[in-house]
């Protein structure tokens, strides 16, 4: 009985105009969602942007269109947006004070996306963290370490820190250090090391590898080989070169010395006084 009365009163309140407005608002909202999804997909197909820029523009377009559609729908329903905007202003100040770090990360994220010190897929080092960039988001950057850990680095930290990008250039220099025994023919060893590293298919012929005598060590004469290789070959190359160099030196009779220490025994002379 009560319900019937309530329903009768409600039906008197709902006019045809209300139904039309409500339907229009729902249609605007649905259209806005559809448009936002289309824009998201269209930006995803743009080949001119890199992955992080694409993600940024996709989010801006998606949420921007949703906000516009929601505002239009609310306006159609008769809500006074000025009140909402005023409240939003006050809210923004309040949130701004409470979320300074987030705002800083957000702005830093935008800087990173446009400055592009690295892109998704690059190997970078930030402080003690070293790994592959798997995502650059508005607030943070996700790095996968070589031990398969995911580390979330706030964008503000990245903007303030020194970043080393190991993938920026297509070629990189690799230094390989070898020690040979004192008395070895240094000219022969230099030539042998050069030929051995040049024989590896991943060693670039130019820039020409440099074979330098680094110093006269405690047990060995130390060489540094500075060679260049495509960036993607850097992780595996030193290991293969050390094996080839060890074989080449052994086959040529050049000794790789163990650390040695010479101990001199001096006979004790006993002065016995009677």
């Amino acid at each position: 009985m009560v319900f019937q009365e309530w329903a009768r009163e409600f039906s008197q309140l709902i006019t045809k105009r209300h139904i039309v407005n409500f339907s229009t608002a729902v249609a605007i909202l649905l259209f806005g969602i559809l448009l936002a999804r289309r824009a998201h997909a269209a930006i995803g197909r743009l080949g001119t942007l890199d992955q992080s820029q694409r993600m940024l523009f996709q989010r801006i377009a998606y949420y921007g269109l949703l906000v516009i559609a929601t505002a239009a729908a609310l306006d159609t329903l008769g809500f006074d947006l000025k009140v909402l905007l005023g409240a939003a202003g006050v809210l923004t100040v309040a949130i701004g004070f409470a979320a300074q770090t987030s705002a800083s990360n957000l702005i830093s994220g935008l800087f990173l996306m446009f400055e592009r010190p690295f892109v998704v897929g690059n190997t970078i080092a930030v402080g003690e963290i070293r790994g592959e960039v798997i995502a650059i988001d508005l607030m943070s950057t996700k790095i996968r370490t070589f031990t398969n850990l995911m580390i979330r680095v706030p964008n503000e930290t990245l903007v303030k820190s020194n970043i080393t990008n190991y993938s920026y250039f297509p070629i990189r220099r690799v230094d390989v250090e070898v020690g040979v025994a004192y008395g070895s023919d240094l000219a022969f060893v230099s030539e042998l090391l050069k030929q051995t590293v040049l024989a590896h298919p991943e060693t670039l012929r130019e820039p020409v590898p440099l074979i330098l005598v680094k110093g006269l060590g405690a047990s060995s004469i130390d060489f540094t080989i500075q060679l260049w290789t495509p960036t993607e070959s850097v992780p595996g190359l030193p290991s293969e070169l050390y094996q080839a160099i060890e074989l080449a030196l052994k086959a040529s009779g050049v000794e790789i010395p163990f650390p040695t220490q010479t101990v001199l025994h001096r006979p004790l002379t006993a002065h016995v006084t009677s």
Binding site: F169, R205, A248
Partner: protein
């Protein structure tokens, strides 16, 4: 040079394999019901493949393996040394390629075609060359070849280099330039008749022209191999289009090629086109799509 060619069409049935030795290349192709598996390495031979190749082309042997364990034995044998150095092992590299599932009865055929590499090749002059303005000189150059393997449906499986390539950086410094291929023996010869026919290399006439206003010293040039056609003559071996490099004094030299082969290539009636420029492979896919698109509308009036 023999009239018989080492490339062409061969047949490989399901659950069998073939083991090829072409110069320093060991090539093992296995076929299962759903995929081709291609394994290759470059190995040192007891008789130098380089010497053999200089005389009459690379030593070529082909062995049919009907028992899968024979192929496994070849792959698991200790790795020989690389032809580049006795101290660097050369293990097999393996790639598997799925068979197209759309075909009701897949073809047993494999097609081997010699092709030029996709990447550019850096070639070096024995001594730096100084050219006066507008002066041009023609040299001879040898370019390495790869072997392209296609399945019967003309689907490219892969391309394997016939001899091991090295890599180099072609640019004024480590900041500017591009990665290129380099071969120990890839040097520029002062005349084309100094080059010799080889079954694993192609020869070309290389003209370097100074288009700079001042005298120019050139010590190396970059040859975009993917833009050259490959020809073969039974008498004189492999040839590519004639190459002209307009040297400008920086790394932005311009490159031209034309299909006029030098007279050293022999009578034109014996010369056949072996492979079109590989840079066209991608374009040909677009052309095919356009052709299909046109046919679609043509069929509907």
């Amino acid at each position: 040079m023999s009239n018989e060619t080492w490339w062409g069409r061969t047949s490989l049935r399901i659950r069998t394999a073939q083991f090829w030795q072409i110069g320093s290349l060991d090539l093992l192709i296995e076929r299962t019901s759903s995929e081709f598996s291609v394994s290759w390495r470059h190995a040192t031979r007891t008789t130098s493949s380089v010497v053999n190749a200089a005389a009459s082309g690379p030593t070529v042997s082909k062995r049919h393996l009907s028992n899968p364990s024979d192929a496994a034995a070849i792959r698991s044998a200790p790795s020989p040394a690389s032809p580049l150095s006795p101290f660097i092992p050369a293990p097999f590299q393996t790639q598997a390629f799925a068979m197209p599932t759309m075909q009701p009865s897949p073809s047993d055929d494999l097609i081997f075609t010699p092709v030029l590499p996709q990447a550019p090749l850096a070639v070096y002059f024995a001594t730096p060359l100084t050219l006066e303005p507008n002066e041009k000189l023609t040299f001879g150059v040898c370019l390495p070849l790869e072997i392209k393997i296609e399945s019967g449906g003309s689907r490219v499986i892969c391309a394997v280099p016939l001899e091991p390539f090295s890599k180099t950086w072609f640019g004024p410094n480590a900041l500017y330039g591009e990665l290129a291929l380099s071969i120990n023996r890839t040097t520029v010869y002062s005349a084309l008749d100094e080059t010799h026919p080889r079954a694993d290399q192609a020869r070309a006439a290389l003209t370097v022209r100074n288009v700079n206003g001042t005298p120019l010293t050139v010590d190396r040039v970059l040859i975009p191999c993917s833009r050259l056609s490959l020809f073969h003559s039974p008498q004189t071996g492999f040839w590519t289009d004639s190459i002209t490099i307009d040297a400008r004094g920086d790394e932005h030299n311009s490159f031209q090629s034309d299909r006029s082969l030098p007279r050293e290539a022999g009578p034109s009636q014996f010369i056949q086109l072996v492979a079109n420029p590989r840079a066209q492979e991608r374009a040909s896919i677009n052309e095919l799509a356009l052709k299909n698109f046109k046919n679609f509308f043509k069929e509907r009036g």
